[in-house]
């Protein structure tokens, strides 16, 4: 077994090295900018790229991860556009949350076309959760109960009103025929706080992401009612039905990816795209992605750019509909 993996490793290394040299040369040093504190989602995204790029020898020296906290990535977005627009060595972490904020005009004066969207490397999916001892057993139950007595169900999420977690809850409320505006929504500090509030009975429903909830689900503290993906998720969540299966056609993909500055040359953009494309099939990358609880979502180059812009348009419509 070990010999086998070493062989494949060497093979992929050779492939990547070969590929890299035939395309454009790798930047001498590379940097990944995370628009938040260390330890958050952007940091995780950066580390995914940094670790697997180094492990597959796509880059010769470790990629430096830097942090620029502020406005859930807004500060980093403005920084890249105004100060490092042509820096080809820099990639910046982003997520569907960034697209949502752009759609709401919360990234300052810039819209989604102000940067070059590079690649999405992994995805997480929205989930709706109740405490393990809750009488609610399925999303169907929840929607039925919520449509009758919405005030009995304070909802918690890890973001402000208008954030991804709020949106997921709003989609549920809408399905139950209730106005998102009248939700008793509580903005808590991240997924951990949401789980404790649920366990303590302070909130009755929580909205979050699969990766952060799955461990608490398997530990038997909470129950994931539905995953907001098109198909069922593999692994431990394979028994959890999708929202669509339960008659509520909503999906919420939380993709994680990168953008580069608007003035990065086509050649450099192509180098990054190619490098990520090769990277995405290596066992090292897949192991790194799975270690972070992310599901496959490899969308690179133009396809990713289109995806982000389509998301922004969709989020704009959703936000307007929800009364934001």
């Amino acid at each position: 077994m070990p010999i086998f993996t070493r062989k494949t490793k060497m093979l992929t290394c050779a492939m990547v090295l070969f590929g890299a040299t035939t395309a454009f040369a790798a930047p001498e040093k590379t940097e990944c900018l995370a628009g938040a504190k260390p330890g958050g989602g952007f940091d995780l995204t950066c580390r995914l790229a940094a670790n697997s790029l180094l492990a597959t020898k796509a880059i010769p020296v470790p990629m430096q991860v830097t942090y620029m906290e502020g406005g859930v990535g807004a500060v980093a977005y403005n920084h890249v556009i105004s100060k490092r627009a042509d820096d080809a060595s820099l990639i910046t972490a982003a997520s569907s949350g960034s697209a949502l904020l752009i759609a709401q005009g919360k990234f300052g004066k810039y819209d989604a076309s102000a940067v070059r969207w590079l690649a999405g490397l992994g995805a997480d999916y929205g989930v709706l959760v109740v405490a393990a001892n809750s009488p609610i057993k399925s999303l169907k139950d929840l929607v039925a109960a919520y449509s009758k007595t919405p005030n009995d169900f304070p909802i918690g999420g890890g973001g402000a009103v208008g954030s991804q977690d709020w949106m997921k809850a709003a989609l549920m409320a809408k399905a139950a025929g209730q106005a998102p505006k009248s939700m008793r929504y509580v903005a808590l500090e991240g997924g951990g706080a949401v789980v404790t509030a649920l366990e303590g009975g302070h909130i009755k429903i929580a909205s979050g992401d699969a990766a952060e909830m799955v461990a608490h689900h398997t530990a038997g503290k909470i129950r994931i009612l539905a995953v907001m993906s098109k198909e069922r998720l593999p692994g431990v969540l394979k028994d959890v039905p999708t929202a669509k299966e339960q008659g509520i056609d909503v999906d919420w993909t939380v993709w994680r990816g990168f953008y580069v500055g608007p003035n990065v040359s086509d050649a450099d953009y192509a180098w990054w795209s190619k490098t990520f494309e090769k990277l995405s099939t290596t066992p090292e990358f897949i192991a790194e992605r799975e270690a972070r609880g992310l599901f496959p979502f490899t969308t690179i180059g133009k396809a990713f750019d289109d995806r982000v812009k389509a998301d922004v348009a969709r989020f704009k419509a959703l936000a307007a509909e929800a009364g934001l």
């Binding site: 100060k83 009103v161 208008g162 934001l324």
Partner: protein
Amino acid sequence: MHGDHGAMLRHGRIGAAVLFVFALAFGWMGSRIEYAFSSDPLGPRTFPVALAIVLAVLAALNFLRPGRNEGWPRGATLVGAVALPALVCATGLLFEPAGFLVAIFVLTTGASRAFGASWPRSIGAGIAHAIGWYVLFGVLLEVQLPAGDLFKSLLKR
């Protein structure tokens, strides 16, 4: 000290008046915070406006009885008290265009001089500060420090 009583009262009252105006401005801005809706009954405006009212009342009380104060500096002391913030301001403005080394050199040379060191000493200290702190923060602790756009554009040419 006794002769200063009137001046002390005046100083204190100016401070209280500034606080009062600040409270009014804060309350006015607070009452105009834009939002679509809030999931709680208080909303984002209540807290700031309430605080502004509290501050306005307290500032009015403070205006009536300003209490003790030190009085503003005059002459050379005033120059120093203005020079130091001006120096920090200049450092901030120089930080990104000129880079860490230059900005810190300016800051520390100026500040050393303000604290009474001779010019040669101040400049020596400035050079030592710039290099020493750069080694500690930029090299050893890997804090992100600006290299300076000026140098970057020179290097490119």
